[in-house]
Symmetry: C2
Subunit: 548 residues, 2 copies
């Protein structure tokens, strides 16, 4: 098993032993309190598991016995830790509930299958005995997609896929790899690198999220990397074709991508891989404002410049990042070019940092970097060189831990992510920003309190890009879930009103359910329900997610 | 209306007035007869429309009146020509039947809607009155997808979309264009070029096929170019999102792509467009064999070399092309480099011609061409330069007309197209070739008769490519449809056995129905049936296509 659950936080992100470097940096916290319009940020620790009352497991003894017979007794677990760890994913609402000790969505048991046949047998049993089944990859989802909700059923089990973590095959000629769906990012990448390949897919959740989870939630282009999948359903196995392209009607892999455990359990997937590039050159540029940075990215995409990563932080995110990189640091603080120089050149008003990665053999990586630099220069950018780029790469997987620390210190943090076409991007950016700022003010714990609303542009294509808003705000201690709901609602409505999708990489889960019908239309929802009924007629799979 | 139906052949390809240059070239026909192992090829002309008995229209008077009320009397047509023209698409089987005067699949009437509202009204009427509806784009399909089959219904009408041919909008920032689905290739391309853009999509049927048809049949990557679509269904309009990417569950545009008129009628689509490149440089290379050419294409794709077209003909296709370009030509014969030179260099045994197009500004197009040339050289290729490339581009839309002339002269011609991953490509190529050769011999009109079996590799990606087999064979005059069935069956079984998709760009229609369940699995077919039932509960849309 590539990830040992017992070493992880049951109510937060990642490894229990992880210590981030921001907790002791009081200068940073003082700055943050001022930014949020608060006299101080209160300590708001989470409740320890020992203090929490876990509802009794409702799994019936015969069902337990039947599960034991399928996967082996040691793979059916119902310790307090197992049930608490699997009670939900890691959305902001999930964290609020877990930290408050609300384990009402804890499954009755956690089952660890070791192969597709076991998954099929569990699903057949569950359909027969009417047990809800929640497929669980890394549990890192941020939209409530793996909470142990029962729907109309008495019993609910979580199917933790982490024991299905083998790399099955690499096809070197076709540049594809086939693996079991429970393999997590680092294990898959390590196995690929050992053979000279890379997946080239690194969402922020990379350390813990799984191949199956990426596909089930269409995480950041995972659907584009998907070649083929095997999905276990209560009606048996569904195997998509593994063709590079096909015109033979609707493609089953398009039904698997984004299925969120509602149609079936992804057990195996074949994905595109690339030969490990000779060079992976991560660079940074500074733009005078967001608009010019966005325009440079758009032109680069439409001219076909090959960048494997392009991320543009808006002025707020750049400013926040700078504070995070420097305030209260005793050593190793990142060197930012002197303020005076920025001021002189006009980069001090709304400076926006862009990170770009160029890969391939040295000649290609360099030539693409030069092409991009020419576009960036034309849009007024200043090269910050390699150091600032590598700094981002080194610390990128730290960000999710930061949420726990903020939550300990009286601050909330939420992400709103969407995608839209270039022609709608500016209005969407402004609309969501305004909506978030207003909603945070309205739901703030005191007069004058406010949020920091940051935005990042990424996942660009010739047609458009994703926008990922991160907002940090002072927690309303009495009614923190309601505070979140109001902020979320305002942001989601602004996304829809401005032509964005309700999710670019997190999925629908429970958190985005109120807006999914607006996005798909009633007829679209009817289509999805019909697919669900064809594959899961009893409706045991992941009740209450994806479909309203 | 961008295409005047009355100027087209009702029983063959394209414009009635078209004269191809091969009919009078007796040297070519003599060569072909020898190649096919026939003493001579017989004249086998088609029956003229005047001699054919058209079944009486079964459209009931009240339904005719209701249709008139929706689209206007002049847009409901049932002349013999209209009904004959719309009796089927242009598959080999379709052509055999049309040429023999079998018009049993002629619709009872042809309706030309002028907008989405009219399409919706026609579908609502048809669902209520139980009239089968066959959506019809350009009618160029080669899998029997638009035949006027009635299914369980008494009446059948064809919905010819060619009056819905407006370019609605260009979004220059996002590089997308929105058009009505009935617009055909040249009209769309002309409207785009007038604004400085190009679609960059040119299937062989380009002159007559439509935007809606490309999407409905996933023609050669049309699904990848699709941003958004509107589809009219008997249950109302379905509108997909127009996001550059989305993680909000299964995407409706993936349900529309490949829907083949069975789920609904595509009325509008938004697609990616590109700025017209400064340069479009079409070149040719000669490889010593198919394997080395295929390897060069694979490497080029996996190294990210930007070619907008890459087509490799195998030795048989190269040889056939050469005969076609030269035999019996009195003037303008293409100059092939002298045989002696080829022999000296070893290009005379199994020479395979590759066509590649490089686009962009001059610097980029040249640098990508040089990158490709380096790969080609490494694989033993000889550059044939620009002339041979441009020759292909000039004549590429002539090929479909060739079929009619062959059919007039006692020869049959069929296309089998598939796609697979690089690791399966060689075996698939060999397997289908062997199967085609054997089936043609078995179903030949006389001992010793045989077919020419050619293959072309195209639509390459890092993962795989499509293979398009063209076979020319002597017609069995007594039982030509049975001859075709035997050849088709052998080829399709070899495709499936060797891991290819049953279609890479033509679709399923009726001709590929026998193999679709093998490709999708029974559960996959159940999913498609469920989608069908959700959108078209009465089942009036395109009966007998796509779904077995």
């Amino acid at each position: 098993m590539s990830v040992d659950r017992t070493r992880m936080r049951w109510n937060g992100w990642g490894w229990a032993a992880h210590k981030d470097d921001i907790a002791p940096r009081e200068e940073l916290w003082t700055w943050l309190a001022t930014e949020l319009g608060m006299p101080a940020l209160l300590a708001t620790p989470a409740r320890p598991l020992e203090e929490v009352t876990l509802p009794a497991s409702k799994l019936l003894a015969p069902d337990r016995t039947a599960l034991n017979a399928i996967v082996g007794e040691e793979h059916v677990r119902d310790t307090a830790f197992e049930r608490a760890f699997h009670a939900s994913g890691r959305s902001y609402r999930d964290l609020l509930r877990l930290r408050a000790g609300d384990l009402s969505t804890a499954p009755d048991a956690v089952v660890y299958p070791r192969g597709t046949e076991e998954v099929l047998a569990v699903l057949a049993l569950a359909a027969k005995e009417r047990i809800a089944v929640v497929p669980f990859g890394g549990g890192t989802g941020a939209v409530g997609g793996v909470s142990g909700t029962r729907g109309p059923f008495e019993e609910v089990i979580t199917l933790d896929m982490s024991a299905m973590d083998r790399l099955i095959d690499i096809d070197p000629l076709s540049c594809t790899a086939t693996a079991e769906a429970g393999i997590c990012g680092p294990a898959l990448e390590k196995a690929l690198r050992a053979k000279g390949y890379t997946l080239g897919h690194m969402p922020d959740s990379f350390e813990f999220s799984t191949l199956g989870g990426w596909i089930a939630h269409c995480a950041e282009g995972a659907a584009n990397r998907l070649v083929a999948a095997k999905m276990a359903t209560p009606r048996g196995p569904l195997s998509t074709g593994d063709f590079p392209a096909s015109a033979a009607g609707v493609q089953m892999k398009d039904i698997v991508a984004g299925s969120e455990g509602v149609f079936g359990v992804i057990t195996e997937a074949t994905v595109h891989i690339r030969r490990l590039p000779q060079m992976s050159d991560c660079r940074a540029w500074l733009f005078r404002d967001f608009e010019s940075g966005a325009a440079a990215i758009r032109i680069a995409m439409q001219e076909g410049i090959a960048c494997s990563t392009l991320r543009l932080s808006d002025a707020e995110e750049t400013r926040f990042q700078r504070a995070y990189d420097t305030l209260g640091k005793t050593s190793g603080a990142v060197q930012w070019i002197g303020n005076r120089y920025f001021k002189l050149r006009g980069y001090d008003v709304k400076p926006c940092k862009l990170i770009a990665v160029f890969e391939g053999d040295e000649r290609i990586a360099s030539s693409e970097r030069r092409r991009f630099h020419a576009v960036a220069r034309k849009h007024g950018a200043l090269s910050l060189g390699r150091g600032a780029g590598e700094q981002w790469r080194k610390t990128r997987f730290q960000a999710p831990y930061f949420r726990d620390t903020l939550l300990d210190r009286g601050a909330g943090i939420e992400t709103v992510e969407t995608a839209t076409s270039w022609s709608k991007l500016d209005a969407l950016h402004a609309g969501v920003q305004t909506a978030l700022e207003a909603a945070i003010r309205d739901a703030a714990p005191r007069e004058g309190a406010r949020g920091i609303v940051m935005c990042r542009l990424a996942d660009a294509s010739p047609q458009g890009a994703s926008l990922c808003f991160t907002t940090v705000f002072p927690r309303l201690l009495d009614g923190d879930i309601d505070q979140w709901s109001r902020i979320k609602k305002a942001a989601a409505e602004a996304v829809i009103a401005n032509g964005g999708t309700i999710s670019h990489h997190l999925g629908v889960g429970r958190d985005h359910l109120p807006w999914i019908t607006q996005e798909k239309g009633q007829l679209g929802i009817d289509v999805l329900r019909a697919v669900k009924a064809a594959l899961d007629p009893v409706g045991i799979l992941n009740p209450g997610k994806l479909l309203p």
